[in-house]
Amino acid sequence: MKSGLRLQVPCWLLLRGFLVASMLAGVLTASQAQVGPGGSVTLTERAFHHIVARHWPTSDAPAAGKFAYGTTASSLQAMIDEAVAHGRMRPNTHGRPGAIIEYDFHHQIGTNTRGGPARRLRVVIGPENQVITAFPF
């Protein structure tokens, strides 16, 4: 509840047009995924809304990883930033456009689908370098 209240109003404004400015060139070769080298990853208000609906600690979406209580918009932003900068990138699967970035924070960031502790973050990036979703696992 606490983090949900924290997100109510100001974070939408904070996140509008927010850019996670991280270079992708070192993580990925152009042939591995459609995210081009030198691009930046954008976390839109829409994507943030999606993440809150599925993966916020207050979300009741079943079988989806949840961020820890206390996660805020800015800490989510920082985690995505770190994952993009240092994580492992691979093309998305099954013909889905874009790429997947995974990063191990080596400390708990939430819970996995079984309710156990999750240390890793998966960020799904669309073909125009926009965040589609992000969740702990």
Partner: protein
Amino acid sequence: MQLGYKLSEASWDEPDRFATATVTDLRYRIALGDVILKAGGVDLSAHWGWIPLIDFVVGVRDLVRSLKTDGSEEEFEFTESDAVLRFRRKASKLAISASYANGEAVVPIPTVIEHLKKFEDDLRVELLTRYPELRRNPHFRKLMGVAE
């Protein structure tokens, strides 16, 4: 074998954009629901409400087609979780298991293909009935095999 879906009521928050929805919209945001998958007493259903059903049927359809040799295997990754469905070819059958449920279902490949086709056909018809604007969407037509 039982392979089907249940479409969630809250399908998409931008109903005026079905005709112009992108591939990403279609594979992540539109036509969400549950997947029902049962065979030989094993229940691998996923009653999660958020599974993008177009993405599911397109992904599994292509995955099954790619399993051409005995012993080959692939995993279907769900979009919003680390859960997977595993498919392994055993001669003319497919062994299907899941990270989120116990058991392994072994089903003849033609049966799997037949049920996937019905899933796809039913979903296409239901979506076009609910959202006729989708017929004008080139990505939907390509993904779901809608005739011009």
